[in-house]
């Protein structure tokens, strides 16, 4: 069951900060979405192989042959903050 606590947990994992009202609102929305999807639980799937994807295709594979990478300046161009050829991000302590 989706409650405010779960919403807060998911928000924390995603580094999102939600107001009390938002938490309340999302708990309600998520609960109703999941409740709708949960109708599928009524189907007996005990004799059905788990399905990861519905398309009956095979994964295309690639030969191990290099293709050019982006030039570093191009690669970095969308970075909000760049220093000495690196993306600079707020200091994070080693996990």
């Amino acid at each position: 069951m989706i409650d405010k606590k779960i919403v807060q947990h998911i928000a924390d994992l995603s580094r999102l900060s939600l107001s009390d009202e938002e938490t309340e609102e999302f708990a309600h929305q998520l609960a109703s979405i999941l409740g709708y999807v949960e109708q599928l639980d009524k189907v007996d799937t005990s004799n059905v192989e788990p399905t990861a994807l519905v398309a009956p295709a095979r994964d295309p594979l690639r030969q191990d042959e290099p293709t050019p990478s982006l030039p570093p300046d191009k690669l970095l161009q969308n970075g909000p903050k760049v220093k000495n050829g690196y993306f600079a991000v707020p200091k994070v302590i080693n996990q």
Binding site: L13, A57, R62, P66, L70, P72, Y86, F87, P90
Partner: protein, 476 residues
């Protein structure tokens, strides 16, 4: 109460491919930061990962090498975590349907054998690199993102740090024989995490486990586990509960440091990656992989003992690396005396390679050259000492055995005529010693042999000299 230690290992091995797992960028480190990246590496919208065939091939070979079943269908999953070492916000890994399952290898530690079951081997991508100590910000380099990894996970079958060391060494050896990983723990191409718990002997339920990380050397793994096993016993003895925690090994202080406790543990919310279809591996592919497998260490070791009559210890050393085994076998093509060759490979050859910090394959003394040198030793033309000197010079000056032996005048004098002349000369010059010898002071034999050896400049064949001296003095 007597306790038993229970250990499970997770080994990450970087695969030696030309490109990353899901894109054509080269997985190179040490190059300029952010010089090996593309939209896939960066997780830009609209980019799609495409799996590298060679990665699958390498993982299948590793699976077969440790007796795993290879799944015909395996699935890639997203492991979600929010940390800036992966721009996508998730790592592509395998979760409930890995490529390889149910393997096992035999190891030996402290004289005891153990069968270690391997739960699974799965494919995943590596994260990028973050530098924390150069700037007020953390700095991110994408180059390592998407480097192909296999993760090899054991069942909790190991019982000590020594066993963990033996298992890790065995896995390293197999990875190297297959040529799929360079296994450098210091540089991170091989990484090892451990789960460890203790339980009263005879108990079958697992105790509360702790996790160990950051063990950057093979011995570090052994030491960290021994340390943690002891810490848990101490805690149990003083009635303290073991808390589920993650520790980091600090090699400078030889102790563990807490990284995080259970409350901070990650919640990865795995789900099948909709960008990748299930990986289908048919029997033909598995058969092809099996057919191209090299001879693996365990089998090579057994063959060396059976075919060449070397001792188990010698066989261990000679099969330690594929390159050493190859060098040994190639030398045998030029000198049939397997024990002589084995002793030299284990002695001079490994010593030189270690001193020069190179593979035996890169020595100037090639198997052909060593074989020729040892041929001279086997036929008595060269003493063991002269051969060692010749080996040094051959290695230093990049020359053949024949050339060095000739230039340095190292050939052993086995010619009885020449030697007997010198023996007679020595006997004639030392009448007093001859008398004492004849009076029963037989230990003077060594004196005469020494004098003759000196006169030959150390090149006389000791066995011949002994024979000649005792013949001459015996005749009296």
């Amino acid at each position: 109460m007597e306790f038993e230690t229970v250990i499970g290992l997770e080994i990450h091995a970087e695969l030696l491919t030309a490109t990353k797992i899901f894109c054509g960028c080269a997985p190179k480190f040490g190059d300029a930061p952010n010089s090996h990246g593309c939209p896939v590496c960066l997780g830009l919208p609209g980019s799609l990962p495409v799996l590298n065939r060679r990665v699958v091939d390498m993982a299948i070979r590793m699976g077969l090498a440790v007796g795993c079943e290879i799944s015909h269908n395996s699935v890639f999953a997203r492991k979600n975590y929010f940390y800036p070492d992966l721009p996508k916000g998730y790592q592509i890994s395998q979760y409930d349907m890995p490529l390889c399952t149910n393997g096992a290898i035999d190891i030996e530690a402290e004289g005891a054998k153990r069968n270690v079951r391997i739960n699974r081997i799965h494919l995943e991508e590596d994260a990028g690199k973050l530098i924390h100590d150069q700037d007020a910000d953390s700095l991110f380099d994408v180059n390592r993102c998407g480097t192909p990894l296999i993760e090899i996970v054991t069942e909790p079958d190991l019982r000590s740090g020594q066993e963990a060391y033996a298992y890790l060494t065995a896995i390293k050896q197999i990875l190297e024989y297959l040529g799929i990983c360079d296994c450098n723990m210091e540089e991170g191409s091989l990484r090892c995490d451990a789960n460890i718990s203790i339980r009263p002997k005879g108990e079958t339920k697992l105790g509360t486990k702790t996790e160990l990380k950051n063990m950057n050397t093979f011995r570090g793994v052994e030491k960290a586990l021994a340390y943690e096993a002891l810490r848990q016993r101490d805690a149990a003895a003083s009635g303290e509960a073991i808390v589920q925690q993650t520790f980091r090994w600090d090699p400078d202080r030889n102790r563990t440091v807490v990284m995080r406790s259970k409350e901070e543990a990650h919640d990865y919310r795995y789900f099948p990656d909709p960008d990748l279809l299930p990986l289908v591996v048919d029997d033909a592919w598995i058969r092809r992989a099996a057919e191209t497998m090299p001879e693996l260490p365990a089998r090579k070791r057994a063959r060396f003992i059976a075919d060449f009559g070397v001792t188990p210890y010698m066989a261990d050393v000679l099969t330690l690396e594929a390159a050493i085994a190859k060098y040994f076998e190639e030398t045998l093509a030029f000198c049939k005396d397997a024990k002589l060759v084995a002793n030299w490979v284990m002695g001079e050859v490994l010593r030189f390679a270690k001193e020069k910090k190179i593979s035996v394959a890169s020595l100037s003394v090639t198997p052909r050259r060593l074989g020729a040198l040892l041929g001279l030793v086997a036929e008595g033309a060269l003493s063991a000492n002269a051969a060692k000197r010749a080996f040094d010079i051959m290695e230093m000056q990049d020359k053949d055995a024949a050339a060095v032996v000739a230039e340095e005048g190292l050939t052993q004098i086995s010619d009885t005529g020449e030697l007997s002349k010198i023996v007679k000369d020595v006997v004639a010059k030392n009448p007093k010693e001859v008398q004492r010898y004849k009076a029963g002071e037989t230990k003077l034999m060594g004196f005469f042999v020494g004098q003759v050896m000196k006169a030959t400049g150390g090149k006389g064949n000791p066995r011949e000299i002994n024979k000649l001296v005792s013949e001459l003095l015996g005749q009296g």
